[in-house]
């Protein structure tokens, strides 16, 4: 369970350009929920994700995961609980390392990286099996540098990488943060990536926060929807109300 208690964040606080990104936001996200967040640019959606991931520090408030206060835990230590999918498909993978090596690092998200070779046959077999299930033909490219693949292919692999620790026997990390993961992709690839994400989320019972500008996607996915405006959560609909939402209604939220 994720809990935000009275989180506030202002950028450039003591200057005339001060921007209030989050204004006393409190939120409880139970385990296994799939929360969609919509809102116009500058409404605080991305800051919300950054505060959770630890790449931005709140000015005020507390962040709890499973009852543990992680407000002062640094971003790289939060990887124990949290996996991220970035808006830019290039951000989630290391271009000069091979596909296999990227997967190796992802599988160690919750552990120390030690002086041992971990990309042996057993690991290669596991990764190959998982990538084959994508059906994108990438299983023959395990030794290619990640940078030679397209944005869509890299984003698909980043999604698989997010659940790699589970495949190697680690259970704790169950939170997935997705910040407009398909913003840089064409419509077809975009649909493919979200279907894949949905499948993985269900299969591994992940707790998800999904920020999107695509209203269609906001309706199709998730079991709860939040809208943000001026750093506050202005609407919060649970599953029963969310399924009744229509695109015109949702569009009206932005008027």
């Amino acid at each position: 369970m994720i809990e935000l208690r009275h989180i506030s964040k202002t950028y450039n606080r003591s200057s005339p350009n001060a921007v209030v990104a989050l204004d006393d936001v409190s939120l409880v996200i139970p385990e296994k929920s799939f929360v969609v967040v919509v809102g116009s640019n500058g409404s605080g959606k991305s800051t919300l994700l950054n505060i959770l991931a630890g790449t931005a520090k709140p000015d005020d408030g507390q962040i709890m995961i499973n009852g543990k206060d992680i407000t002062h835990v640094s971003d790289f230590e939060r990887s124990k609980w949290i996996a991220r999918i970035f808006q830019n498909p290039m951000m989630g993978t290391s271009p000069e390392l091979s596909v296999l090596e990227n997967f190796r690092l992802a599988s160690l998200r919750m552990e120390k990286k030690k002086f041992r070779i971990g990309t042996g046959e057993a690991f290669r077999k596991l990764v190959k099996e998982k990538i084959t299930m994508l059906g994108l033909g990438l299983e023959s490219k395990l030794d290619q540098p990640m940078g030679t693949l397209s944005g869509g292919q890299r984003q698909a692999l980043t999604l698989l990488m997010a659940v790699m620790p589970v495949h190697t026997g680690k259970e704790e990390a169950k939170i997935l943060l997705m910040d407009e993961p398909t913003a840089a992709l064409d419509p077809k690839t975009s649909a493919l990536i979200l279907e894949l994400a949905d499948k993985i989320i269900k299969e591994f019972n992940l707790t998800v926060i999904f920020v999107t500008h695509q209203l269609k996607d906001a309706l199709r996915y998730g079991d709860r929807i939040l809208s943000m405006e001026g750093g506050k959560v202005t609407r919060d609909l649970a599953y029963q109300s969310k399924i009744k939402l229509t695109i015109p209604e949702l569009y009206g939220w932005f008027e």
């Binding site: 790289f76 230590e77 993978t93 998200r109 990286k113 070779i117």
Partner: protein, 288 residues
């Protein structure tokens, strides 16, 4: 002929420095000028300890550690005190000049009639042959060790740190700590070059490191041209290309001297050559 053989041996002696620069520049994307100071530091530590008749393994470790500490300090200043990497390197390099002078007690320590690491190969006849044997062995071992390290989980995390910092932080790596370790390793390797070169030339000098960083940069870039041309993926091959780059660099300098270029202009030749190597890939691109 002996002239070119000496150049090859020097190239092997500088291979460790080139690999150090490969780590700081290629893997971490940090232009690290600490090199000039840590190279001399390695030489100074070696000369001082050799004249005290300290045992060779101890000198070896001391030389590496001295450079590693200097590099780690640059890393600390850069990551924790948020000083620009170039300036952090310049600061440590400048400070090291005094440290080196204090260590040596004077500006030059000759090593006359003192057994060196090359004396370990005294089962072979001839000084040059002994040097060749030890240097080749050293470079081979270093090559294997570095290749292995860069393929371990730790090495992968290191490579990803320079490649995509936000990704590797999201995968649980403290990149600040990683950069401190990386710059430590890079300068440890540089100091090992100082250790070897001091024993090849038979003295340590306070000015032996001035402008030495360019040797490493040039070697890495020669290696890079090779790796790019043949789209090399294996890290072992990339490393051997850098080592070859170091030897080629020395051979080109030897060639420049042999065709009668005044040694006065040697640094000018070096700069012009490195400029050429750096700009070839860009000139090719412009033509496309």
């Amino acid at each position: 002929m002996n002239f070119y053989l000496t150049a090859v041996l020097l190239g092997l002696g500088f291979a460790s420095l080139a690999l150090g620069i490969f780590i700081s520049m290629r893997i971490f994307n940090i232009p690290d000028i600490t090199t000039d100071g840590s190279f001399t530091l390695g030489g100074a530590v070696t000369a001082v300890l050799l004249s005290q008749h300290v045992s060779m393994p101890v000198i070896f470790v001391a030389a590496f550690l001295s450079g590693a500490i200097a590099g780690a300090m640059t890393g600390f200043i850069h990551t924790r005190l948020k000083v620009n990497a170039l300036l952090a390197g310049i600061l440590v390099m400048t400070a090291l000049y005094s440290v080196n002078l204090a260590l040596m007690g004077r500006s030059n320590i000759p090593l006359i009639d003192i057994p060196t690491i090359f004396s370990l190969a005294n089962f072979i006849h001839g000084e040059v042959a002994q040097q060749a044997f030890v240097l080749v062995l050293f470079v081979l071992l270093l090559w294997q060790l570095m290749g292995w390290v860069l393929k371990t989980d730790f090495g992968l995390a290191m490579r990803a740190t320079g490649n995509n910092e936000s990704m590797i932080r999201a995968l649980g790596v403290n990149t600040n700590r990683m950069k401190i370790i990386g710059l430590g390793l890079a300068n440890g390797l540089t100091a090992l070059s100082g250790f070897l070169i001091t024993q090849i030339q038979g003295f340590a000098d306070i000015n032996m490191g001035i402008g030495i960083v360019i040797l490493g940069l040039g070697s890495v870039m020669i290696g890079e041209i090779f790796s790019k041309t043949f789209s090399v993926k294996s890290i072992y091959v990339q490393l051997i290309a850098v080592i070859a780059g170091s030897v080629i660099f020395r051979l080109i300098l030897a060639f420049a001297l042999s065709i009668g270029i005044d040694p006065l202009y040697l640094k000018l030749v070096v700069a012009a050559f490195v400029l050429l190597v750096v700009s070839i890939p860009n000139l090719k691109k412009a033509n496309d």
